[in-house]
């Protein structure tokens, strides 16, 4: 894990089209302003302290920048019809844990998500240091998620801490 930066994961929504976006802010205080962008009027929905990072291979020093990755989220297996659920459904004993790589375009309006190379690197990284030989981590892109509104996944961010300031 290299280029670790601290900041805020900020989520915004457009109340007209109900699309969601998120971005990583390295400002001391996360921006909360409303603004217009094309047909959208983005409003602040919330923020949490988070980190951004890239991954670097210890053997060949190749670096994979995780530009599109906003946060990771643990799948709570809330929806059997969700693509994320299906990624880990084959393991009823909970030895396989599915984490979702969340991109900035939460509603995928632009059709983009975390790249295949980033997903591959995240899987390699988080499985490399597991102590339990029976445990497996699967990282999948958030395009597999069926609903951003009803998803009960646990986002790996410091939710609630921002409200203190």
């Amino acid at each position: 894990m290299v280029n670790v930066r601290s900041g805020y994961l900020v989520t915004e929504g457009c109340f007209q089209c109900r699309h969601r976006i998120s971005f990583f802010s390295e400002e001391p205080v996360p921006p909360v302003d409303h603004y217009q962008q094309g047909d959208h009027i983005w409003s602040y929905l919330g923020s949490s302290q988070a980190v951004k990072f890239d991954l670097k291979c210890k053997k060949c020093s190749r670096e994979v920048p995780l530009k599109e990755l906003m946060a990771l989220m643990l799948c709570w297996r809330c929806d059997p019809d969700c693509g994320v659920f299906k990624s880990g459904a084959a393991d009823p004993e909970w030895k396989t844990w599915v984490y979702v790589a969340l991109c900035a375009d939460s509603s995928h309006e632009r059709g983009t998500c975390v790249s295949e190379e980033s997903i591959w690197a995240l899987n390699e990284y988080f499985n490399a240091d597991l102590v339990d030989p029976n445990k497996k981590i699967i990282v999948v892109p958030c395009t597999l998620r069926r609903s951003v509104d009803f998803c009960q996944g646990i986002v790996l961010a410091d939710v609630g801490l921002t409200e203190l300031y």
Partner: protein, 108 residues
């Protein structure tokens, strides 16, 4: 040192059944976003009893979580830790006192 040996030596309160594991290091943090970079097998000392922390601890295969200053995890957090096979312990000691005790026991 095994988790059970540590729990016995410094009098930790256990919150869930656990598989005994070797402690390979110690990390102290109250931020979820901070612990996703640590190595597997660590004992994590924290004040943070939120479920997000267990989700992150599971990702990096933490051996056990130790709540300092008498913090008690809620039921849903214990349930997630059971599923993730992460041992949860509590102590009335503050984090600094726990760190000193661990160091004196030779845990680095």
């Amino acid at each position: 040192m095994k988790i059970s040996e540590l729990a016995s030596k410094i009098g930790l309160r256990s919150f869930n059944p656990y598989a005994d594991k070797e402690i390979q290091g110690v990390y102290i943090s109250d931020m979820v976003s901070d612990i996703i970079g640590i190595k597997g097998g660590n004992l994590l000392i924290t004040l943070q009893t939120h479920k997000n922390l267990i989700a992150a601890a599971n990702l990096v295969d933490v051996a056990a979580v130790l709540y300092s200053r008498g913090k008690t995890p809620p039921e849903d957090v214990v349930a997630l830790a059971v599923r993730a096979k992460i041992a949860l312990f509590g102590s009335e000691d503050d984090t600094w006192t726990l760190a000193k005790k661990l160091y004196e026991l030779g845990i680095r």
